[in-house]
């Protein structure tokens, strides 16, 4: 933790350690690429497990789950307001992130800047634009189940 603090210094907004070998770090979106580059180069955090997004109501929170050869994992958190959701692409640092960024982009409707490939990943091609299923205000209404036939 101290090494991370020394490495990133002032730009850390918040750092917690809620469980064994788990470090949560909060950064501003514009510092993300720089910070991940430093973490990769100096601390060996080269592996991005995934990006998870959470809808907080009026903002989105994105967690970049990083691991390295050392025990434990680092979770870099960043927040962006829902009205103008933008996060930078980290593909320049970690090329394998593109799939996760595509997923986040279509699920939350956030704009990932400079993403090398912004096609849809999981949703079908004819999915309507502007529908982002993992937002909390996107409600899925389960259709009534119809079983063919019937008790005669």
């Amino acid at each position: 933790m101290d090494r991370i603090r020394g490495l990133l210094g002032e730009r850390i907004l918040e750092m917690t350690n809620p469980a064994v070998r788990r470090i949560f770090l909060t950064l501003a979106p514009q510092d993300l690429v720089w910070a991940l580059g430093r973490l990769k180069a100096d601390m060996g955090y080269w592996h991005l497990s995934t990006i998870s997004g959470v809808d907080l109501g009026d903002a989105f929170e994105f967690l970049y789950h990083l691991t390295d050869d050392l025990p434990g994992s680092l979770h870099v958190r960043t927040r962006t307001p829902k009205a103008e959701a933008r996060i930078p692409s980290i593909c320049s640092v970690i090329p394998g992130a593109v799939l996760y960024e595509r997923e986040v982009q279509e699920m939350f409707g956030v704009v990932v800047e400079n993403i090398p490939d912004n096609r849809r990943l999981l949703l079908s091609d004819d999915w309507p634009d502007g529908q982002h299923p993992l937002r909390k205000d996107w409600k899925h209404v389960r259709p009534e189940e119809k079983i063919p036939g019937g008790k005669s």
Partner: protein
Amino acid sequence: MKVQIPIGPQHPALKEPIGLRMTVEGEVIHDADLRLGYNHRGVEKVAEGRSYIQNLYLTERICGICSHSHSTTFAQGAEILFEIVPPKRGQFLRYLVSELERVHSHLLWLGVAGHEAGFDSFFMYVWRDREIVMDILEMISGNRVHYAINTIGGVRRDIDEAQRTKILDLLAVLRARTSFYLNLGTTEPSFVGRLAGVGYLSKEDAMSLCAVGPTARASNVPRDVRKDDPYGIYDEVPFEVCTADTCDVLGRTVVRIKEVLQSYDIMEYLLRNLPAGPVAVKAPRRPKPGEIVSRYEAPRGENIHYIKSNGTDKPERLKVRAPTLGNYAATIAMLKKGFIADIPLIFAAIDPCICCAERSVELVDSRSGRPSVVRWSELRRMAGRRAARDSKKRNVEWPL
């Protein structure tokens, strides 16, 4: 002449639908592209509307092969949120099942690899012996596929002494058979000829493209959550991380068989040192608010669940990352400059579990939003109409 060959969404090499599009020239692949999303179930969204105990079974159904891995990952995370610790015997049994599942998954993969390479006898024999593992699992848990042995706070079933000795006996049989397959898989010339040098993924690529599991380990990246971030009982069980430096499909085969052999060691340790006591503790209904990241080494690689709780009996957010998704980027890199004949092998070598990787959104009927029953005749007419419309758009024209 460059030709685009569609592999999937329906193709004999794929056990689940995925769209691979290969640009080939002759037999050599020049480019590969991937389209996911044929297998959506919306697990993450559904999980937000269900209680923790229901989600346990939901996560189990993320995958059919590594079902235990997802439910264990979820249970591990939930137990931290609930602030309970499962008893020792429960943990031993939980990770016993998890190693059994690893064995069954790797043997399944080995058989599939044999089948993809056209080595059907190998496939039949491996799967015959895989039945032993399936029988053990069925005996322990009551089902062959969805073991449902986990509960929040431990496991649901105990094993007795007779079962313990029986499992140990069967493990000895399995160990002999697995050694035979290791020997066979690396000596049969036609099989080795198909595997060696295929799907090269250098160590640097494996690292930068975030490969996980046996795919990474075969490229000499010793990543194993069980060692790196020991969960459960893995900090007290002796085992080794198997790696290979050949960086090809043969290496992935060898890594998997060696891991199976390691799993036998782990299981024997667990069974011989099985502590007495209860197998589960009672869990409260609502956890404390908080968030947790749970990691687990599934047979295919690292499983990661991010659970955020808001204090109610339903999780605020459940994010699931299955290992296969992490390997797709690496697969594309592996496919380039390969032969058409290698596609199934390379693709199978990451042990893809497509329904694991795609779990995000429930699709009712993407076109109209309402479920509709289409008559056969209607379907044929639609197909005909579509063919008439699309026939001119075919990018490959008949060359003669």
